[in-house]
Symmetry: C2
Subunit: 304 residues, 2 copies
């Protein structure tokens, strides 16, 4: 049985287009509407046939929806909310998929009126590809979706949880502040570091770009996948979650300086102790079903 | 036709045991001998049936070999060379697979006598697993193997190149110093950074380990794979390639500080410009056949 009657997805990128596919495949909604400011994205959505109606104007479709999900970059959430809320029905739900919660809640809340409830959400899922063609119906399966509603026990929050569960996700409730610190650690700072390292390698005058490409299988290529993620979205994430990101980055730089010092002073024991500790967490992630146990993420053995 | 008659592989870990399998599968050698100081590794090699003879004493087997490959951690190369060289035949070849070249050449060279030629090598291949069970015959296929001989035009160097080509590798020649700087960039520093970040996340008091595990799909899990690599080997790599590693780490910290500053001062343009640049190198790596174009490295979509 469908959890919502009509869902409007605002933003037809990787996440928005995957929600459209997943909601239909899992019958989580009866009708799926999509809006995107870009006419070419709207054409792609029509061609892909993943929505029952498509428009460049979200407000035109909002009246018909009992759930509106904003799937735009974090920095555009306020504007998207402002555009769509005045057309939303009393009793309908507004949600989002932003990787940052506290700042998005602030930006959206100033446009809310009494009849619309905002339930912030963040599915921890994605790939390094962007756009409507990159989405797929199983993107959220066995992944976590974090909800940060004001009242986790409300009927509105548990209904949105059921919608994500119907698409295969596990649900966690958190405060927006805790979400932003946890995700700075497990997602935002890892991305910032990957972007930085790839830039450092490309800028080394003493090493040619062709050498970097050729010999990337030694570890570097893993970072390039993450550093190929959507630039606009990640710019917004770092700016909108500034305090937590800077806090975790500073911890990271401290720890890197300690290992640098151990290398400089030939202190093998410090290095060995550190490297042994980090092996353990990999096992836990694989055991928790959050990654493949296959060597090299299961990359094909015979051809890269 | 076999490139060598009898190959002795000293060290039965991921790389050594993969060479044994690959050399046999591709008929690159007529007979394959293996030695490992650990009796339990020797038992595993016998059980796996990947060698024609196995011993805990490399010197006992060295007399029969026309190629001896040292597959031990970088810090143990000198001792392994010292143990095996006195038993090697005049005209035979000594090689290695170490991720560092200049320091290993120094350590090995002091034990060389006139009858043995050392041709240093480094196959850019591996997984996060260790030990004889982790090896497989196609590990080197379509991967680069870097040789750093004194004379790249010598018959001895080109014969070793043919041996690696027979196992599916592409060959590059380089000076040891250039190798060490290029690999510091594409492999050593990426590993150091992954080890650091995983440690930082585990040590955050404000974020529980269970949260780090649960929400690792946001980017962090990629780092944990690299940080699960063999601790002893990587300790040795950082200590043996100290100067190049510290040079690249310092560049990385400079670049990270610049991005930190852009975040602190809300400078979205600097971030966007940087993140757009790094996307390009991913495309080049995929185009060069050095990684899979599949989203998320081709991780299974339906179950992690």
């Amino acid at each position: 049985m469908a959890i919502y009657d009509t869902v409007l997805i605002v933003g037809g990128g990787l996440i928005g287009s995957s929600i459209a596919r997943a909601a239909r495949a899992n019958k989580a909604a009866t009708a799926i509407l999509m809006a995107d400011k870009s006419p070419s994205v709207c054409s792609a959505i029509e061609r892909l046939g993943i929505a029952d109606a498509v428009s460049t104007n979200a407000a035109d479709l909002a009246l018909r929806a009992d759930l509106v999900i904003l799937c735009v970059p974090p920095g555009q959430m306020g504007a998207a909310a402002k555009a769509v809320i005045p057309s939303m029905r009393t009793g309908s739900i507004l949600s989002d998929v932003g990787s940052v919660k506290a700042n998005i809640i602030n930006a959206v809340s100033e446009h809310l009126h009494g009849g619309v409830t905002f339930i912030p959400a963040h599915p921890i899922a994605g790939t390094e590809y962007s756009g409507p063609e990159a989405g797929f119906a199983t993107l959220f399966k066995d992944k976590w979706c974090i909800l940060t509603p004001e009242d986790p026990d409300s009927e509105t929050a548990s209904r949105l949880a059921k919608f994500w569960e119907a698409m295969g996700s596990n649900i966690a409730f958190m405060t927006p502040q805790r979400h932003d610190l946890v995700l700075a650690t497990t997602s935002h700072v890892p991305h910032l570091i990957a972007y930085t390292l790839v830039g450092t390698a490309v800028d080394m005058e003493a090493v040619t770009q062709s050498e970097v490409v050729k010999f990337s299988a030694g570890g570097f290529r893993d970072f390039t996948r993450i550093a190929a993620s959507d630039p606009v979205m990640w710019r917004d994430v770092f700016l909108e979650n500034r305090d937590s990101v800077l806090e975790v980055v500073d911890r990271f730089i401290e720890d890197l300086s300690a290992l640098k010092r151990a290398i400089r002073w030939d202190d093998g024991e410090v290095l060995l102790e550190h490297f042994s500790k980090t092996r353990d967490i990999r096992t836990k992630i694989v055991d928790a079903g959050q990654d493949s146990a296959a060597p090299d993420f299961g990359r094909p053995k015979n051809s890269p």
